[in-house]
Amino acid sequence: MYVDTLNTRLIGLRGLYRAGYRSVLAYRADLLFGVVGLVIQATLTVVVWRVLYAGHDEVAGIGSSTAVAYAVLAACIQSVVMPWQFSSLPQRVIRGQIGVDMMRPRSLISQNLAQAVGTMVGRLPIGAAGLITGLALGGVQAPHSLLDLLAWVVSMVLGIANIMTINLLVSMTAFWTLEIGGVLILYRFGSAFLSGALIPLWFMPGWLQPIISWLPFQAQIYAPLSIWFGTRHGAELLGTLAVQLGWVLVLFLLLQLVWRRAVHKVVVLGG
């Protein structure tokens, strides 16, 4: 009798983690260009922001060095966690291979998440290269205090969990629509904008800021980075982390619900 213990579950997931990690190394060229790309992007971004700030000391209460560092860090995070390729889930649904996945002993959600984490870890060298470039150009500074750094780590983990959950949620729309290509593209660029990856939310128009702060996206990049730069302290810091945690829980719940409906659709309705 096969006993499904925590140990066996972890072993199974580790295999998928490895698959994600290895898939990054499988294409040596892709990894290399990822690094080169981010180094170029980091360099040019630093220049753009410095030129933008020429003649200003502060804009929207933010100084030049902070804005530059933010742009570089956001680019690094994006390249590690949100690569061009989403999970293979949508393709597998369209090709009808999803039935096989559903028969596997591990839950599909943990399968996908394990693989996504593996891929992310595989891409860490890219982010590292970007960070080094930023440091070399004098564009990046470390957080002011150790507390800020530790808080950032917690916040970043929550942000990453947020990103992966929403990624998977959006991928699951493949079960209901053929238009998955359009949905994914809209999501990718919409979230790049709303998460603060493209532009720090400090610079957004006044009327847009409240709307964005109510969405889960700002918890992905803007929240962790505003902690890195020490703009949140004390109660505000805890509040931010709480909101992030809240979003992760809500999204995870939503994911389970959507997944159940998807399984129902495929298994019962033969979707």
Partner: protein, 338 residues
């Protein structure tokens, strides 16, 4: 002596890829390695094909068979050696070569996936600058030969494998190229479909004198269509010549099955053959064709026993090929002239 339409001399093709020892961090190491592993996919092969022949190309997967075909069609550039097809070098005179050949690849269609089958034919008609009247006549002939009427207006993506294969065959022959390459054209098809394809190929070869090069794993294809075969393994030619001669050389034994109604077949024996199996109604005997001719054994059995039915089994080509593959030595020593 007819001039060969295809001439291949000392043809060689080498590939290389990064060489990494498996083990920990093999994936990461492959990013930095410079060592290369060179594979000789095709190693100095030579042969020729006369116009109007129907030649079978056989060989295990990865043996260099497809690589050879790709060099013949001009898809790959040889590392060394020469290929001449209808007086042209395929990879150099690519466009002119394209007009003299038709090709069907079993795995991948050349038809336009989203458009009706008929549209693909029209596109080919235009691309190959066919005369409209010739196109109409020929399409009419082929439509009848292969029963295309029922699906000629269906999008290619909705066709069954058999229908798609028929469509691909027509598309390849539409502009009447003198040479036709077929790569596994009957794989995955049902018996009826296979029959139709073979009929078409035979007709195109006999009726229009199209030179046909048939790559296949299906021995029935070879038995029914090919007079000559080229067998390639490990990049070299294992055998090149007549199918019949191949069988004669490699077949060490043949079987005779005899049937008796009122006689106990288990008592049958022969000085020329060995009993393999026997039940009261049927006995199977094995003899060596090298030492004893079939008629002699037949005569011996029929003159001494009341046999109601008798059949001499054809040597199984598949067994012959399998033996060849296991031996893996070029047939030059055993080939008594081809």
């Amino acid at each position: 002596m007819t001039t060969p339409i295809i001439e291949v001399a000392d043809l060689t093709k080498e590939f290389w890829r990064p060489d990494v020892r498996p083990g920990r961090f093999a994936g990461t190491r492959s990013l930095f390695t410079r060592a290369r592993k060179i594979t000789k996919a095709v190693d100095g092969i030579s042969f020729h094909i006369d116009p109007g022949e129907l030649v079978g190309f056989l060989g295990p997967n990865g043996a260099g068979k497809s690589t050879t075909i790709k060099m013949l069609t001009g898809i790959l550039v040889p590392t060394s050696g020469t290929v001449t097809v209808a007086g042209q070098v395929p990879w150099r005179d690519r466009r002119r070569n394209a007009r003299t050949i038709g090709a069907v690849f079993g795995q991948r269609t050349q038809l336009w996936y989203d458009l009706p089958l008929r549209d693909s034919f029209e596109i080919i008609r235009d691309l190959y600058t066919m005369d409209p009247a010739t196109y109409r006549t020929r399409l009419g002939e082929f439509t009848e030969l292969l029963d295309l009427d029922e699906f000629i207006d269906t999008p290619v993506r909705s066709l069954s494998l058999g229908q798609r294969m028929r469509g691909d065959l027509v598309a390849a022959m539409l502009y009447a190229p003198p040479i036709l390459y077929l790569d596994e054209p009957t794989v995955g098809l049902d018996v009826v479909a296979k029959g139709k394809i073979r009929e078409f190929v035979a007709e195109v070869n006999a009726g229009r004198r199209t030179t046909v090069i048939l790559t296949t794993h299906d021995m029935d294809d070879v038995e029914r269509l090919c007079r000559r075969v080229v067998i390639i393994d490990h990049g070299k030619i294992l055998y090149e010549g007549d199918v019949e001669m191949l069988k004669a050389q490699y077949v060490t034994s043949r079987d005779i099955v005899v049937h008796c109604t009122d006689f106990d077949a288990t008592t049958i024996s022969s000085p020329f053959a060995q009993v393999i199996s026997a039940d009261p109604f049927k006995a199977t005997l094995r003899f060596a064709p090298e030492t004893t001719a079939a008629p002699k054994v037949v005569h011996d059995l029929t003159s001494r026993y009341p046999i109601t039915d008798l059949s001499v089994l054809e040597p199984d080509l598949e067994d012959v090929i399998r033996q060849l593959y296991t031996e893996r030595t070029p047939a030059a020593a055993r080939n008594t002239g081809s």
